[in-house]
């Protein structure tokens, strides 16, 4: 059973359509306020869009287009929602929290608890069955919340940044649990973390300003990002322009030489992007001697430590775009870099990937 959705909600500047194949996990990436949580709210039935339709298989979730308006309330949708916080019912112990879904579906107490034990085992939390939520750590509570969501046997599982509220020690364990339980399961996971996308999702959708900016297989999106947001996640600089024989030409006429994707024969004149890692960028003061390609003036905006390097963030005036370079602390000291300085970035063309946007 596949999932299909098309919805728009003007008040939140939200307009998206997406579909999931059976057993597919999709990661939704995007900046804050891009509409990720709105998407989950609309799917779960907690937010009502102005128009659109959604279905899982032949079961209609809502259809607000055309004459017959149909709107299923949340409890009839089979779309369990796992939020950032576990939100375990504080008056029930872990076992009864997990048994809540089966009980609501009409199972007897005994049968529901049996199912709850099964799902607690799945998330390695059976020994915690008789604890109250107040006696659980954040990571334990979130694992039990996963079990609770799964015990409801949802046709589509919605996860809203499930790892965001956990400390760095609890997140890896939950991520492993999720990797196991999300296998062959239809799920939408909203996340900020590239690692979640890599580990948990088959496909990535990048949303910006309420719309889908790009989508594709996780690896492809993160290695060949087309949106600024995905490039930021992948740690790449991204410059867009028109593809030429040697690279791309930016709208202000600057030529970026680079390597064309070998899997793809470039068509000059097509819109494309050039992506390059900050480590491929060198920083020079004043004019660069010789004739390096890909040299252009920028203004330093920020310096910050990045691993054992210094990340130089700069604004390429005419491009009106942030670019970064990673250089050694020694080099930074030698150059005497401070924010506001005018320098030159030189990018090794061998490390610039050019592909269509």
């Amino acid at each position: 059973m596949s999932f299909e959705l098309q919805a728009s909600l003007r008040a939140r500047n939200f307009d998206m359509s997406l579909s999931l194949r059976d057993g597919e996990t999709v990661a939704i990436l995007g900046p804050n306020g891009a509409g990720k949580s709105t998407l989950l709210g609309v799917v779960a039935g907690l937010l009502r869009p102005d128009s659109g339709a959604a279905r899982i298989g032949d079961k209609e979730l809502f259809n607000l287009d055309g004459g017959s308006h149909h709107w299923s309330p949340p409890h009839q949708r089979g779309t369990a929602l796992l939020a950032q916080e576990a939100l375990l019912f504080p008056h029930l112990n872990a076992l009864d929290n997990v048994a809540f879904g089966p009980r609501s579906a009409g199972a007897s107490t005994a049968a529901a608890r049996e199912a709850a034990r099964h799902w607690l085992t799945e998330v390695d939390a059976l020994p915690l069955a008789h604890r109250k939520p107040a006696q659980l750590s954040g990571g334990q509570a979130q694992r039990i919340a996963v079990a609770r969501a799964l015990a409801a046997e949802p046709a589509l599982l919605l996860l809203d940044e499930p790892m965001a509220a956990l400390d760095i020690h609890a997140a890896p364990l939950l991520r492993r649990v999720l990797k196991r339980v999300l296998k062959d399961r239809k799920a939408i996971i909203v996340t900020h973390d590239v690692l979640d996308a890599y580990m948990l999702a088959d496909r990535v959708i990048v949303v910006e300003q309420g719309c889908i900016a790009e989508e594709g297989p996780t690896r492809q999106v993160l290695e060949r990002p087309r949106s600024q947001f995905a490039a930021g996640l992948a740690g790449l600089n991204l410059v867009s322009g028109i593809i030429t024989k040697d690279g791309i030409t930016t709208p202000d006429g600057r030529v970026f030489a680079g390597q064309h994707d070998p899997d793809w024969s470039p068509v000059p004149g097509q819109a494309g992007v050039a992506a390059f890692p900050p480590s491929s960028v060198s920083v020079f003061l004043g004019d660069v001697h010789g004739s390096p390609r890909n040299a252009f003036p920028v203004t330093v905006t920020d310096l910050e430590p990045h691993g054992d390097q210094i990340r130089v963030r700069a604004c390429a005036g005419a491009l009106a775009q942030a670019l970064s370079a990673d250089i050694t602390p020694a080099a930074s000291a030698d150059l005497g870099l401070v924010p506001g300085m005018d320098v030159r970035f030189v990018v090794k063309s061998a490390l610039v990937s050019v592909y269509p946007a």
Partner: protein, 270 residues
């Protein structure tokens, strides 16, 4: 939790004014206790009329508390969770008895359920007479006590938020199941303290009861009415019964504050 150390930030003179406020409440109670005729205390409070009044008070207060819960829970839910035109107006009207003189409430009830009242006429035809009956006592008490439950519970509902309810719904729980298994257990402390306050308010109800239900021994003469009546003839009995009422009210409120964990806004009896 209060800590012994640490900066409090309260000016000293505030303590002085607070002490005056505290005395204003405590001193009259002490004065009354000082007036109690202790050798005659037990006979005074166990006289037939006293026991009848106490029994009636406890029964009617319990009944009106149940009525407050039955009617107040839906009202609080609608006010806290609903979104409909006239919601603020409804809240104002529900809370009106808090600031209305009880005697005015009694007159309003009389013109609703009395023999010539709005509903009373039809009820009279059906052979039901409410005014000046024990039912009228319960109605009068419910009228004045309902806002206490609604205010307390609405506050608890608002501070609990609806995120747990949203999660419960996505897990497949019908709205009634969500109410029964999530909402009500979450606000149980607020509901309990609201019920206790309603009970205490019902127990002390005087003006509306006297106006709407009258003062028939064993039928409508509750403890406060009995105290007022005794004051004219037997001051010792009035003082002794007052002390009983203070003890019952004190126990009820103490129970409430001891039991409740989450604090809900508490309205003040006029």
């Amino acid at each position: 939790m209060k800590t012994a150390t640490g900066y409090q930030g309260i000016p000293r003179w505030i303590f002085a004014v607070a002490a005056v406020g505290g005395l204003l409440v405590v001193l009259p109670l002490l004065a009354m206790v000082a007036k109690v005729n202790w050798p005659q205390f037990i006979p005074l409070i166990t006289s037939d009329s006293s026991l009848a009044a106490l029994g009636l008070s406890l029964r009617t207060s319990a009944a009106s508390t149940v009525l407050c819960v039955v009617l107040g829970v839906p009202l609080a839910l609608v006010l806290a969770r609903g979104d409909f035109p006239g919601q603020r107006l409804l809240r104002s009207f529900v809370l009106l008895p808090l600031v209305l003189p009880p005697v005015v409430g009694g007159i309003a009830l009389l013109y609703t359920f009395g023999r010539q009242g709005l509903l009373g006429k039809s009820l009279e035809v059906a052979g039901i007479q409410i005014a000046f009956s024990t039912t009228a006592v319960v109605l009068a008490q419910t009228f004045v006590a309902l806002p206490f439950l609604v205010v307390s519970l609405e506050g608890a509902l608002r501070s609990a938020g609806n995120r747990y309810e949203a999660v419960a719904a996505t897990l497949g729980a019908r709205p009634t199941t969500v109410l029964r298994r999530v909402t009500l257990p979450l606000v149980l402390p607020g509901l309990a303290s609201g019920a206790v306050l309603s009970f205490a308010r019902s127990l002390g109800e005087f003006g509306a009861t006297l106006t709407f239900a009258g003062s028939l021994e064993g039928v409508t003469r509750t403890l406060p009415l009995e105290i007022y009546l005794q004051r004219e003839t037997d001051a010792d009995a009035a003082v002794a019964l007052s002390l009983v009422l203070v003890a019952v009210a004190g126990a009820v409120v103490g129970l409430s504050y001891g039991a409740r964990r989450s604090s809900a806004p508490v309205a003040v009896q006029p």
